[in-house]
């Protein structure tokens, strides 16, 4: 039940940002010197920012930037990480040592520290921010998949399969993957929230989306200077960020709970 509610809201959210072009009342990039920092009104439901741009339209388009980048990043990291993790956990030996050493190396860089340095050197841009976060993100999936694989590797049903002479690939996909998928996939879902926090954090620091691109983190950062006179330029993108992250985390939790039943 919870899943359906969460999924329905996520669907609504996705529809809103996909159809941003249709819903948005104004051009999110059109500046207007005569309409600077307008309080919310009928024409500009969330008011206007320091350059007279419609905040509501920018929030919609900004959602597109943030969510698309997040999805892309999580999906790729999940696929690569889980595959490597299962291989390492199941086969062990030199293969595991090589990959886990690589994972250790990537993991030994605290993710955001690396991301900030890499994004800083790459000179900003959403692609740079994604690369910066991505080079360490797969590791978490690999580690999780590996540890779960190890914890079930000596279970009787796996042993039985091994003794029955079943192939490694067969066992990994038939027995291990289904048994570790729930926690790893749930982790992927919760990673959506975390990744979004990371990406908008980088943008907030000026290391992600480049102005004038609409992006929640950078909108909050821009509006911060005028928070006293035009709080809506911060509060609405902030609300959108919180709502979106909460929603995805809620979906993750709902799935987790469903899986536990």
């Amino acid at each position: 039940m919870q899943i359906y509610i969460a999924a329905a809201f996520v669907f609504l959210l996705l529809a809103a940002v996909i159809l941003a072009g249709k819903i948005a009342p104004n051009d999110p990039y059109r500046t207007n010197a005569t309409l600077i920092r307008l309080a919310p009104c009928r024409e500009y439901p969330f008011g206007t920012d320091n350059l007279g741009r419609c905040v509501f339209s920018r929030v919609l388009f900004g959602g597109r930037t943030t969510i698309a980048a997040t999805f892309f990043l999580v999906a790729i990291s999940f696929g690569i990480g889980t595959f490597i993790g299962i291989l390492c956990g199941f086969y062990g030996g030199i293969f595991e040592r090589i990959f886990m050493r690589i994972a250790d190396i990537f993991l030994s860089f605290p993710q955001m520290v690396v991301a900030i340095a890499v994004a800083g050197i790459l000179g900003g841009g959403m692609a740079g921010a994604m690369v910066a976060l991505g080079i360490t993100m797969w590791v978490a999936f690999a580690r999780l998949a590996r540890s779960h694989t190890i914890s079930i590797r000596n279970e009787p049903y796996i042993m039985t399969s091994i003794l029955a002479g079943k192939g490694g690939i067969y066992i990994m996909f038939r027995h291990i993957l289904p048994n570790i998928l729930a926690p790893v996939l749930t982790n992927a879902l919760t990673q959506i929230g975390t990744t979004m926090i990371g990406l908008s954090g980088l943008s907030f620091l000026g290391l992600g989306a480049i102005p004038p691109t609409a992006e929640w983190g950078s909108m909050i950062s821009e509006g911060r200077a005028y928070i006293q006179i035009a709080p809506w330029t911060v509060l609405f993108p902030a609300l959108a960020t919180i709502l979106t992250i909460t929603l995805f985390n809620y979906l993750g939790d709902a799935v987790m709970e469903y899986r536990n039943v």
Binding site: D104, M112, I116, V118, G217, R224, I227, V234
Partner: protein
């Protein structure tokens, strides 16, 4: 089968871990150096630009020669690495001053902020997580879960902006800019602690619940063992995992401190590195990654070793 208190085994593990740590640190430094090496632009040029000198061909050549940029990669790497081991992090592009003292001052401030935040988060989350796990499904558990859920869903830059808006501008309770006084530490620490506590509670609670679902807990309860002793056992058995959770969260804390220090102008490593990114002062950025990376590596290797000590089955 490994025996308990097998000190020989433990010593071997520790030595392995030390060797591993050294190797990891070398690779870390190599990657950091390589990253700067392939970074767009030429250090001599960057240096001159960041100092505002007009670039002519002669000036550039002279600068290159002075910086030794003509020498091979490994020679320069070795020189840089041994410099760092001696505590010399190079010369700032911006003002030609040694980087090390700036990094040291920043690290000191960052440690104050991070340690305070970590301690506060642990003080709040550890007892709440245990309490919540034992009351799984009850109203109190739901309240803790909702709170930790919200905390976990809030980026720290958002919390800090909102806290600033409400507490500094509306109620004028705190100074907007952190000046190093204890009061000015409150908001940055809160901004870091709220999301971290949320994450801690969630992860620890699920660890405790996993422990409570173990066969031995059912066994204890069926023998009528008091919950007090059940708690002792799950706390004992979860220690390894909890330490790992904390160790990994330190990485998030480091990233968060960059954001928070920038917002509150707290003169730590994070603010320093953001200023340096803006002025492309590469030696500072390199020093920052090296310092944070080293702390993180050493800390997590330590939690790894303690995991072996705490759970002899591993």
């Amino acid at each position: 089968m490994k025996q308990p208190g097998d000190t020989k085994f433990l010593i071997t593990t520790v030595f392995k871990k030390i060797a591993e740590t050294v190797l990891l640190l070398i690779i870390l430094s190599l990657l950091v150096f390589a990253l700067m090496y392939i970074a767009p632009g030429d250090p001599a040029e960057k240096r001159l630009t960041s100092q505002g000198t007009a670039i002519t061909k002669e000036v550039l050549e002279a600068e290159r020669a002075r910086l030794g940029l003509m020498r091979p990669f490994l020679v320069r790497y070795g020189e840089w690495l041994f410099g760092i081991i001696r505590g010399d992090f190079g010369i700032s592009f911006k003002d030609d001053m040694p980087v090390a003292p700036k990094l040291a001052a920043g690290l000191h401030k960052t440690l104050i902020l991070s340690t305070a935040s970590l301690i506060l988060s642990l003080l709040v989350s550890y007892p709440l997580a245990i309490w919540s796990a034992f009351r799984k499904g009850r109203v109190s558990d739901h309240i803790v879960r909702v709170l930790s859920f919200i905390g976990n869903s809030m980026p720290n830059f958002l919390i800090s902006v909102l806290l600033m808006y409400v507490l500094c501008i509306h109620f004028r309770l705190f100074p907007v800019i952190a000046d190093g006084s204890p009061t000015s530490l409150i908001l940055p620490v809160l901004s870091l602690s709220i999301p971290m506590s949320g994450r801690f509670i969630r992860q620890m609670r699920s660890e405790f619940i996993d422990q409570l679902n173990e066969d031995y807990v059912t066994g204890m309860r069926m023998r009528g063992v008091k919950e007090r002793y059940v708690a002792v056992n799950i706390i004992r058995n979860s220690l390894g995992h909890i330490l790992t959770i904390v160790g990994l969260q330190v990485g998030t804390l480091m990233g968060g401190s960059v954001v928070i220090e920038t917002i509150f102008r707290w003169p730590g490593l994070g603010k320093l590195v953001m200023d340096s990114i803006n002025s492309r002062d590469y030696p500072v950025i390199m020093g920052f990654v090296i310092i944070m990376g080293t702390i993180y590596i050493v800390l997590n290797q330590l939690t790894d070793v303690s995991y072996h000590v705490l759970d002899p089955r591993v």
